[in-house]
Symmetry: C2
Subunit: 616 residues, 2 copies
């Protein structure tokens, strides 16, 4: 049976030593984030994840979800855990104070979401998606929805979903067929089929609020394949009286199927059929305003803007699921490597009293484990840094800092989504590999981590789409402003530290990696405009360079801090020494791979495009 | 529902154009291997795999194997397919003529095994393991076993297994606890628990012949942790009368459990309990002889030598399962990419009559697919070359050629096992990724390819063990003789072709890759002796360089041939042009990665070993 211990110590290191969040008293809510406070919140969250969620992870996978008489049954214990989650207030960490929430900044909410996902990814998606739906409703809904619906969702009495994908379209949403029809009384009815709806139905709450995108007719009254006709609607599973908030009966929403999937089996992935269902058009709460190009943003699609606003956070959340998968798999891989006896160290017996040495003595086993941990802790540092930037972007009084934070968080988001989930899958596989044949056996739990982690590369925009978003939009938008901001930060760090002999093993590789990132970016600028396929062909390699170099930057910063702490004398010797080992690993064994990726990127598109589709 | 079309055309290209096997009339059985003959065999095998095995792949995964009243029930249709397999003679392709087999060389048997594994890996393991058990019995068994047991196995009336692993030991077999005790009448009884026994029990045959390793007492009569006390036994599930071959009743072998696994669920992976079971000691058929060091090889362990002799073939077979997984996943990925409509090409609309372009227009989707195919066809070329070397090593009249073939096939075997199965898993994941969210849904079959392919990296010696075998044994044995032989071949090819302008895009990268392989090998020679952990730390990177460069060598040879065919004029224009595209891919996008691996290899062991085990 696998186990999990939440990495609270590492979060506290990131919050209070690397980011020093408590010093940003100018940002709302940050003044209260003293180490005592964050420690108490994280310890409480850790206890809940370790003791309530983790024990249901394997049983939830084995039992799965079942559609019985039109209702989805979740695995044993999930309903009680969902109630305990709400009772503990864990779903309200980041919720607005008007809703009774703690309104804590996203460093806290994302830290908690990592722990929840490590403990039980399939379960954590239910409150996670409900929270996303709540956020979208809060941003776009009318007053009665805030009063009667959002409150119930915040209390965990009701759940929520996000309904985007249809059988024939996911990424290309303009092709969607789900339609909303305005009735004579001005209300809307919605019809269509949505698929891959996480938590689309279940038995844990009395109602489920579906946040659905669907088409309205264009100005000629026709339904067309045009993204501007896609609108945002609230469709409750059970109808709600707008005046009182009482449930008045079922809406025309039915569950067509619960998908059988590779993993996250404890989460009900549903096909939902909307059959002339009562729908509420979400026009957004912001007043009409002129866009950059002078056009008036039509109020009918303003709700969509509200919804898309949520999606950066959602991609961040999925990236963090990649970290979460790597963390829990790593912990169990280490436990096995310390216990399992086989063979003898290549450099002489290490366990003379035993029949063999623990396999931790083998360099290649250590490579698998250290590689995973170096990814996990480097990625966690970047995730917390970007979570912090979210707050800066929203609330800093300094406009330049605000804009930089917005630019950087936009730039890093597709990297976090795609690179972290690829590496998280790799880490889950690495720890499964440490188990040898025992890793392939379901009872041992390792293969579940692999199956669960695999979804992260796919949902919330497949990783190839993220890579394209990075090179074709985020790196190049506004004349590459975000890229230049980031590169200036990298250069400043390198310049500041390259004279320091102790930092040389870290700054040297960072500089090499940064050189290759710059080389790839320069190639992109010169060649993409000539042939956009070059951008597509190079996108994944550039994503990998970007992710590797950015974690090298985080590791160099953590190494600097660790060197200072060790020099100053600290009781946590092992903690900082390990950070240096992990930083060394990243520089010695991950940064070198950028050499290959930059060559690949510069190979361009011709070799990929020369074959006719029919000849594949 | 996934589909499969066996790559017969590619096998025929490899046999008759690249390897020109029919010209080796000096090798037994090769004179008959005309294109007509091999084509007929492969077409027949393809038809069987496509029509009988493939349709049972997904249903076998869904149903799995179940232990009912002590007997394992295989999925619906497996028993009939096993009979059809035997009736078609597919289990006798490589079997000795004395047993009614076709005695065909391993190029044919491995080609067929790739097709069977693509069609249905879980099923193909039953006849595959039976064949391995038969081979071991034929090599080591007494006359009555050949007459009464091997014949039944060859006919497919009885099946067989290989029983090595125990709960606490897999790789480190000297720790095993299973013991054989000689009775007063000279016979043996065997007791212990074996795990991970593929096809350990099932309902497809009347008897199962277990080939078991177990300990005998040492000269002082004690059971000790010493590999020299491990011996080889035949333990039938049902007892057999040595005089008549009749089944006389059950032996004391029971199935403790059928493991629940990540994949290959149609194959029964059993825990087998031997409780004072009747066992036959296999001493091998060769007369006693002196080993290299002058010691007399004890007859009691000669059977072990016979068994280990099988293991090179088994590792080769697993490597080919990696190719098989990549091939079938690729085919289905292509079909989806050609059909699925989403978005528009980055360089303008390609499907103006449709609502969107097929996703095959996107460079990153092509990267995923071409990468898989370039691996699959390069790996198949190497696998068939090494299969051919097996025959040369066994039967060439030229002693130098025989020795070289033996050296090279030994050298390449761990690479084929580990590198091919890693890349096969990667290819299965790549094609699953092409499906986006639909790849995660079980009905579509893509995630099964990933789950099934994952075992290949684990069984028959986990890939880390293969990497260590490569650097610590195969590359360095006999003063690095095999390595030097291989490098001479690479150098000769480069020298012969580097003046050819058309070959420059292939020879240039091959030369670069070879340079890095040489650099890594040189580093290993200089540093491993100082500290063996350096070999362990560098092993996986060297494995990756070795695999990548060796496939580059195969691709350069195939490119040369394709250029010549196109120049000479051929009806198969598309076939040879595609080979050039795939060769280009390998040179442009795989060889560059060797730059990173060689740096990693040279980083040495210190960074991996500095952390105390307790601080992981």
């Amino acid at each position: 049976m696998p186990s999990y211990k939440a990495p609270v110590e590492d979060f506290l290191f990131l919050f209070h030593e690397l980011l020093e969040i408590e010093k940003r008293t100018d940002l709302p809510g940050f003044a209260e984030l003293t180490p005592d406070m964050t420690g108490a919140i994280l310890e409480g969250g850790a206890k809940f994840c370790e003791e309530v969620l983790q024990p249901l992870n394997q049983s939830g996978d084995e039992e799965g979800c079942h559609l019985e008489n039109g209702v989805v049954r979740t695995p044993k214990g999930f309903k009680e855990a969902f109630k305990a989650y709400a009772d503990g207030g864990w779903n309200k960490l980041g919720v607005a104070e008007e809703l009774g929430g703690a309104n804590l900044p996203s460093v806290i909410t994302f830290a908690f979401s990592e722990m929840g996902s490590s403990a039980n990814q399939a379960f954590s998606m239910y409150p996670g998606l409900s929270g996303a739906a709540l956020g979208a409703l809060w941003a776009t809904g009318e007053d009665w929805m805030r009063e009667h619906v959002a409150t119930r969702m915040a209390d965990g009495d009701w759940a929520g979903t996000m309904c985007l994908t249809e059988p024939h379209c996911g990424t290309d949403l303009k092709l969607m067929k789900t339609r909303a029809v305005q009735q004579d009384d001005g209300s809307f009815r919605l019809s269509g089929t949505k698929i891959f709806i996480s938590g689309g139905d279940h038995d844990m709450t009395d109602n489920i609020i579906h946040m659905v995108i669907a088409k309205l007719p264009n100005e000629e009254g026709k339904y067309v394949d045009d993204l501007s006709t896609v609108n945002f609607f609230m469709v409750p599973k059970m109808l709600v009286d707008p005046a009182t908030g009482e449930i008045t009966g079922p809406n025309s929403v039915s569950t067509g199927a619960v998908e059988k999937k590779m993993g996250i089996k404890g989460n009900a992935t549903c096909v939902l059929n909307f059959d002339n269902a009562v729908a509420y058009h979400l026009k957004g709460r912001a007043p009409e305003k002129k866009a950059d190009d002078g056009k008036v943003v039509k109020s009918k699609s303003a709700g969509m803007a509200g919804m898309f606003g949520m999606m950066n956070g959602a991609r961040m959340g999925v990236g963090i699921q990649g970290i979460a998968a790597g963390e829990v798999a790593y912990q169990n891989g280490v436990a096995y490597a310390q216990e399992r006896l086989a063979g003898r160290s290549l450099t002489g017996v290490k366990n003379p009293d035993g029949p063999a040495d623990p396999i931790m003595v083998f360099p290649d086993v250590r490579r698998l484990l250290i590689g995973s941990r170096a990814f996990v802790e480097g990625a966690r540092a970047l995730a917390m840094y970007v979570s912090f930037l979210f707050s800066v972007a929203r609330s800093s009084a300094d406009e330049k800092e605000r804009q930089e934070a917005e630019d950087l968080s936009q730039l890093f988001t597709p990297v976090i989504k795609a690179y972290f989930t690829d590496k998280g899958f790799e880490a889950a596989n690495a720890s499964m590999q440490v188990f040898g044949g025992h890793g392939y056996i379901r009872d041992n739990g390792m293969e579940q981590f692999v199956r669960d982690a695999r979804i992260n590369q796919v949902y919330e925009g497949a990783n190839g789409i993220q890579a394209l978003d990075l090179v074709a939009r985020k790196m190049t938008a506004k004349g590459g402003r975000a890229t230049l901001t980031y590169f200036a930060k990298l250069e400043a760090f390198i310049k500041e530290n390259e004279g320091d002999a102790e930092m040389a093993p870290f700054v040297g590789p960072l500089k090499v990696g940064y050189g290759r990132l710059g080389e790839a970016a320069g190639w992109l600028m010169q060649n993409a405009a000539k042939n956009y396929d070059h951008a597509g062909a190079a996108s994944y390699d550039i994503l990998n360079i970007f992710g590797t170099v950015t974690l090298a930057w985080m590791w160099a910063q953590m190494a600097k801090l660790s060197l200072a702490k060790l020099k100053a004398g600290t009781e946590k010797q092992d903690f900082y020494k390990r950070k240096l080992t992990l930083a060394r690993y990243w520089m010695e064994r991950e940064v070198p791979m950028t050499a290959g990726w930059v060559e690949r990127a510069k190979a361009g598109a011709d070799g990929l495009m020369e074959l006719d589709a029919i000849n594949f």
